[in-house]
């Protein structure tokens, strides 16, 4: 039934080359190896007990946007890993293409559907396992695979070379000294309060984010450092491509960077998935139940700075703003109150989208989908009309700014507002704080 309905195949070199190299024997062997070797009771219980009630359908922005049965969470299972389990891996290569496309590009692993399933079935886990099988079969979208390669070769997601990293920090430090004459981006300082970590694109083409963060820390009088060696990138596309061995290697490099410097905490930039990789997935793969170094997200850290009066606003961001709640820090880590506190601290007026908080809709970029690159951009656009409708409703209530403390949300919403022609601008908290804070240490203008 599902094969006939799956008529939305998208050409991708990585997926196509991958399935061209597959044989049914290889598929069967690999599926069995993952199902028997790597999964356990969790997968079995989910598979056995799902009563196919369809209650989860309404949870998913893909379903809500298309209103088409094949996009419901349970349908994603039904068209991919459910079949592999039922048939013990006896499927053909074309079917694997379908599985990969669904798992990598039609599920953000956002876990919204958990709020809907009376039996507590975690569709995101099923899709992750599906991705794991695809990774093992060598059937992964080209762009996310390239990112995973970059991670493996450089420990960052953008092929940033060792020297380019330090160089970009020094460059931002130099730029910033025009504004804050004695500002520093301290390198490799042992025993300080926190190590600040960012994602690969920041030194590559969003260096102003490093500038802004450093300026805020400087103004707050923070005792902090950045590492001069690999491990500085907290992002993790290997977690999403299904390459868990690489995810473990990356998280080890990241945490050991901090352990080596004996910092008390890691403060993480405004990124969601990186946060997930350290409190939820990467640490576990390495055997740590808790993270080995306390990690706080920027949203938590900025909240501390404001509550302690270390940062004050000169003026609030003008106009009305709405808030995109990033799945990985709100549904993933309960930072709703922190984010609301900050939003009201830095913006003149907030209108909420509905639903919001832990019941928010994903931006459709998360879970690695945006990293699958241009071939799948439209999947994110057509698949998130639901978000566009929410944004339009906020726009109608006067909102012109979207506060989105997550890199993926930024990328995803940027595409959505262009695609749907919604005239709004997207901001990181850091953008607004930096632009509007009281700068006691800056040169007089």
């Amino acid at each position: 039934m599902y094969n006939e309905i799956f008529d939305r195949k998208i050409e991708d070199v990585g997926l196509q080359t991958g399935i061209d190299r597959l044989t049914p024997e290889k598929i069967e062997k690999t599926v069995k190896q993952v199902l028997e070797g790597e999964t356990g009771a969790k997968l079995k219980v989910y598979h056995d007990t799902c009563v196919r009630c369809g209650m989860c359908a309404k949870a998913c922005h893909f379903y809500q946007s298309h209103l088409e049965p094949s996009y419901s969470p349970v349908a994603k299972i039904h068209q991919s890993i459910g079949v592999l389990i039922e048939k013990d891996g006896k499927v053909g290569p074309d079917f694997i293409y379908q599985c990969a496309q669904i798992a990598y590009t039609e599920c953000n692993l956002c876990r919204r559907c958990v709020h809907y399933c009376p039996l507590g079935i975690d569709t995101a886990y099923m899709m992750s396992t599906m991705r794991r099988i695809c990774h093992k079969l060598g059937v992964t979208p080209q762009y996310i695979q390239d990112t995973a390669h970059s991670h493996s070769a450089t420990m960052n997601q953008m092929w940033v070379k060792d020297d380019e990293w330090v160089d970009s920090l020094l460059w931002q430090e130099e730029e910033a000294r025009d504004e804050f004459p004695d500002m520093r981006i301290p390198l490799d300082v042992d025993g300080v309060d926190f190590l600040y970590s960012v994602i690969g694109p920041e030194p590559k083409f969003r260096t102003h984010l490093i500038y802004q963060a450093a300026a805020i820390f400087h103004e707050a009088g923070a005792n902090w450092t950045m590492p001069s060696e690999p491990g500085w990138d907290n992002s993790d596309m290997a977690m999403f491509s299904g390459d868990f061995e690489m995810m473990g290697r990356l998280k080890r490099a990241h945490f050991e960077c901090a352990q080596k410097l004996h910092v008390k905490r890691i403060v993480m930039g405004e990124c969601g998935h990186a946060f997930r990789s350290i409190y939820d997935q990467g640490n576990r793969w390495l055997g740590w139940k808790d993270y080995p170094v306390e990690v706080v997200h920027s949203v938590e850290f900025f909240t501390e700075l404001f509550k302690a009066g270390k940062i004050k606003m000169k003026a609030k961001h003008p106009g009305i703003a709405t808030i995109q709640d990033p799945c990985n820090i709100i549904r993933g880590r309960g930072l709703y109150d922190h984010l609301r506190f900050l939003a009201h601290e830095v913006c003149e007026e907030i209108v909420e989208m509905a639903p919001n908080g832990e019941h928010n809709y994903c931006c459709a970029a998360g879970g690695g989908i945006i990293n699958c690159g241009p071939p799948f951009k439209n999947v994110r656009m057509s698949g998130n009309k639901a978000k566009a409708d929410q944004l339009k409703a906020a726009y109608d209530k006067g909102a012109r700014t979207i506060l989105a403390p997550c890199h993926n949300c930024h990328g995803g919403l940027e595409d959505i507002i262009h695609h749907y022609g919604i005239d709004m601008e997207i901001k990181f908290l850091g953008d607004i704080i930096y632009a509007n804070m009281v700068k006691t240490k800056a040169v007089e203008e």
């Binding site: 009771a41 079995k44 196919r52 369809g54 309404k58 349908a75 709020h115 039996l119 079935i121 139940k289």
Partner: protein, 220 residues
Amino acid sequence: MYHSIYDLVTGPLTWLGFGVLVLGGLFRMVSLYSLAKKKDASSIAYNKAKYGIRSILHWITPFGTLGWKENPVITVVTFVFHICLLATPIFLGAHIDLWDLNFGVSWPALPDHVADIMTVLVIAAGCFFAYRRVVDKTVAFVTTWKDWFALCVTMGPFITGFLAYHQIFNYQFMIVLHVITGIAWLLFIPFGRLSHAILGWYSRVYIASEFQGVRHAKDW
């Protein structure tokens, strides 16, 4: 002839049914738990009763969760279906008489006409589910023979019980069929779709602990 069949089904076969329910159920719970300990150690390490109980309390409350709120019709039908489904066989006067006769234990019974209405509700709810499986495209898309099988097994004893009670068709035949379908009910609960009755609690407690404990968020 009829009596020997009746004795067989209400005697050894019923024992078998309860045996499979209890032993099979225990077996599945124990074997899956030990499998989880072996293979899902990094998941179940976070399990906490506190979170599980909090979550269960929400989910056994109609409209107590986002999923229930957003699916109001299913919510009403599901609660009615399951309450009647569990309460009717346990509190039916005729069933209690059998317990009394065989084991000398008894408890208050539902008035027969109430049990009759509850039976009708189960059948009606079942019909609604069947209707959805055919007409609602989203549900139809994911429906397999397993779901029809589960629904049929579940409905069997209610339909036959209803027919027998109202003496439609041959009573004796119906009552044997009722006992047989009832046994099937017991036999299949530990396995396949119907195992949600016993295994659903595991996944509930687990996801509750993940959400509340690790992710500091509600799972409802």
